[in-house]
């Protein structure tokens, strides 16, 4: 049987790594954090390959993000310029890539969290003194992620079946088509959230202040080792962050 790690450890790792990737401004450190987190994800057998595979169709949006980021960054040396107007600078590209890395760290975080069941994650958050409502909300939020991806894929298929060859559209039209993918996703998510909250109310949620739980969480030796490794990593990263 596969060893189960305490959800609190996963939460801690995710918290540390995503804070670090946001605090660090140096792209080399961000990349380092990303790979460290990737290592943890593989360690917890998170399904990152599957996640990135599902996201492959949306890579163009990420690419678009990088370009937008780069265009609006005026510092650094020009790489592409039209007449005297600098379009893209090296600094701009670095900035764009760094946004992408941050986004990926968040996505991988989600993948790590869902390796624990929802109940375990909630219980982990509660044990960390997070109010139950908040714990429930955030763990439900993470669970919604795959649903969102599914919905986006369905809309993409529906658009293509209307005879629209997305790959051969002009860039402006392509962006327009992708904007159609997001609207139903957001709407259907809000709808699902609404019916979810209704059904939660119907089950008399929060009628008692304290809740008991069937799930008992306890740290095993492996969990402590992981915790120690993580704290060590945190110290090392911050130390490096200061000297670079």
């Amino acid at each position: 049987m596969q060893k189960k790690y305490d959800p609190r450890i996963k939460l801690f790792i995710v918290l540390v790594m995503s804070s670090l990737v946001i605090i660090f401004l140096d792209i080399r450190l961000q990349i380092l954090v990303f790979f460290t987190q990737l290592f943890f994800a593989i360690f917890f057998k998170a399904r990152i390959r599957e996640m990135f595979f599902k996201l492959r169709k949306f890579m163009i949006i990420f690419l678009f993000l990088i370009i937008v980021q780069s265009v609006f960054d005026r510092q650094g040396n020009a790489i592409i310029s039209i007449f005297n107007f600098t379009l893209i600078t090296d600094q701009g590209i670095i900035r764009g890539v760094s946004y992408l890395i941050r986004l990926f760290v968040v996505l991988v975080s989600g993948a790590i969290i869902v390796t624990s069941s929802q109940k375990e994650t909630i219980q982990g958050l509660v044990k960390l003194k997070v109010p139950y409502d908040l714990a429930l909300m955030s763990s439900v939020g993470i669970r919604f992620l795959p649903l969102l991806i599914e919905q986006m894929q369905d809309t993409l298929i529906a658009i293509q079946l209307r005879g629209i060859e997305i790959n051969s559209l002009r860039l402006a039209d392509k962006v327009k088509v992708y904007s159609y993918i997001f609207a139903p996703v957001i709407i259907s998510t809000l709808e699902k959230a609404k019916s979810l909250s209704l059904s939660i109310e119907m089950r008399a949620f929060r009628i008692y202040k304290d809740r008991t739980s069937l799930i008992e969480l306890s740290f095993s030796r492996e969990d402590y080792v992981l915790l120690f490794v993580n704290i060590a990593l945190l110290v090392i990263f911050i130390y490096f962050g200061n000297i670079i």
Partner: protein, 219 residues
């Protein structure tokens, strides 16, 4: 009538993650005919339709559309030949209003579309032209989804449970539409649990059973 086989399935085998759904299926679908597909919940009707339409590609065997392998078409090319109505209309509707939904294609391509107002009239939703798609009733959504399926003048239509959620009047109207198009030479594959639809429109009825497909009734 002269039957033209438009869709041809040869030796199709397909499994989901945990079970085999189809084993060596051979099946032909014709223009100018209304082929019905029935079967228990979870027997794989929707999955089979997604294979035909090119959404699912990881099967073994061959599926031909108009003499060419389905996997050699793009989804957009298939969309111009075959109309597909999803089992869940929400998957098909992604524009803010009914009118936007019907005119979506015009914003991107120049294509000989059916007059959308005429379609709205046929499906009895013309009065909803400016309504928000989000607030449509289930049956109205179904009719809108059906109407979009006919937009590109397809030669063949695959409808996944088209009558579910429709009232008696709108059902009868749908039967009329299907029958008149079939008489004009358009082919249909209709997945359904609705025996009334089968009796009114079906030319031949197939059933998915024990991972195979067999004729349940010839009309």
């Amino acid at each position: 009538m002269n039957d033209i086989d438009f869709i041809k399935i040869k030796n199709l085998t397909y499994s989901t993650k945990d079970k085999e759904l189809f084993s060596k299926i051979n099946w032909d679908l014709y223009l100018g005919k209304c082929t019905m597909l029935i079967g228990e919940n979870g027997s794989g009707k929707t999955t089979l339709s997604k294979i035909i339409i090119g959404i699912i590609k990881d099967y073994s065997g061959e599926v031909f559309l108009n003499g060419k392998l389905v996997n050699n078409y793009t989804l957009a090319e298939i969309g111009k030949e075959v109309g597909y109505c999803f089992q869940n209309p929400d998957k098909q509707i992604f524009n803010p209003t009914v009118k936007d939904e019907m005119t979506f294609v015009n914003r991107f391509i120049d294509y000989g579309l059916t007059d959308y107002k005429e379609l709205l009239k046929q499906f009895n939703i013309e009065h909803l032209s400016n309504s928000k798609t989000l607030t449509l009733s289930q049956g109205e959504k179904r009719r809108l989804a059906l109407a979009t399926t006919f937009l590109l003048n397809p030669k063949f239509l695959v409808l996944d449970e088209p009558t579910s959620g429709l009232d008696f009047k709108n059902r009868s109207q749908l039967y009329r539409i299907i029958n008149s198009l079939r008489d004009k030479g358009i082919g249909f594959l209709i997945i359904t649990h609705d025996m009334d639809l089968v009796n009114n429109c079906g030319d031949i009825v197939y059933e998915i059973k024990d991972r195979g497909i067999k004729i349940a009734k010839k009309i």
